[in-house]
Amino acid sequence: MQIPYTIEERPDTGLYNAKLGIWLFLASEVMLFGALFSSLILLRTSAPYWPHGYEKLNVPLATLNTMVLITSSVTMVMSWASLRLKEFGKYRLYMSATFLLGLVFMVVKAFEYGAKFSHGLYPSIDNFYATYFTMTGLHGLHVLGGMIVIAYLLGPGARMWKRQPERFTNRVEIVGLYWHFVDLVWIFLFPVLYLL
């Protein structure tokens, strides 16, 4: 049996199923990260002392990573636009760039974590580092998850383009929505953890 509404819109929702699915998933992600932001507010406002992020963390590296993620969002949306223009070569180029930028983000993050660990700074040190590692760690896992899906859509998953180009284009739109959401979370994490 064929999966319904992978391309055509469902009459009652006006959307293909995966589109509604990813938005419902992202709504649950808002609550997941929201709970962590809420916890941070509670911990920070009730602590007698809480350091400024810029005193403890590496702002230039995090700024670089912000630029990297923003750029990866543009390459992601360009890869989708390329498929809509039926330019598969350009899609591969932009999607590969997105994967590489995700990798750069993770490598920079690994350097940041490594520097902290080498100074004996672990999540167990205090609430500041506990929240920093929890929030950036969960975000990093999301980047990693996105990279796995991107790798699939560049590799074996790309075969769908020949058989069902519209369905493949929709798949890229879906992973794009997820990737932009991960970028959006970082846009808030960056000032809240590093700059305040």
Binding site: L15, A27, F37, M67, I70, V74, F188
Partner: protein, 99 residues
């Protein structure tokens, strides 16, 4: 999703580049402001204001929320309401401490 014609899609890609430039510029601004070491209240207000603009640009253009179906808006309105409630939960603890 807006327009399907080649010309419309190409126009969209030009908008994506403009949004990217705006996001990069706003990142520089938010970092620059952080070096001014404003008072805590002002720093939070400025940082969150800029982050909200950046987030809106990403959601509006990259996630093409400016032209989406009504059902998605309904889902997101509900999400935003719960998110705001979540952000105000710590206030309960604050009021508790005040007695």
């Amino acid at each position: 999703m807006s327009g399907h014609s080649v010309e419309e899609i190409k126009k969209e890609t030009r908008v994506y580049v403009l949004v990217f430039v705006a996001l990069a510029a706003l990142t520089v601004v938010t970092v620059a402001v952080s070096y001014l070491h404003l008072s805590v209240g002002a720093a939070i207000a400025v940082a969150l204001f800029i982050a909200t603009i950046k987030g809106s640009l990403v959601a509006g253009f990259f996630m093409h929320l400016i032209s989406e179906r009504k059902l998605i808006y309904s889902v997101l309105i509900l999400t935003v309401a719960f998110f705001i409630a979540l952000m105000f939960l710590p206030l309960g603890g604050y009021l508790d401490r005040l007695g």
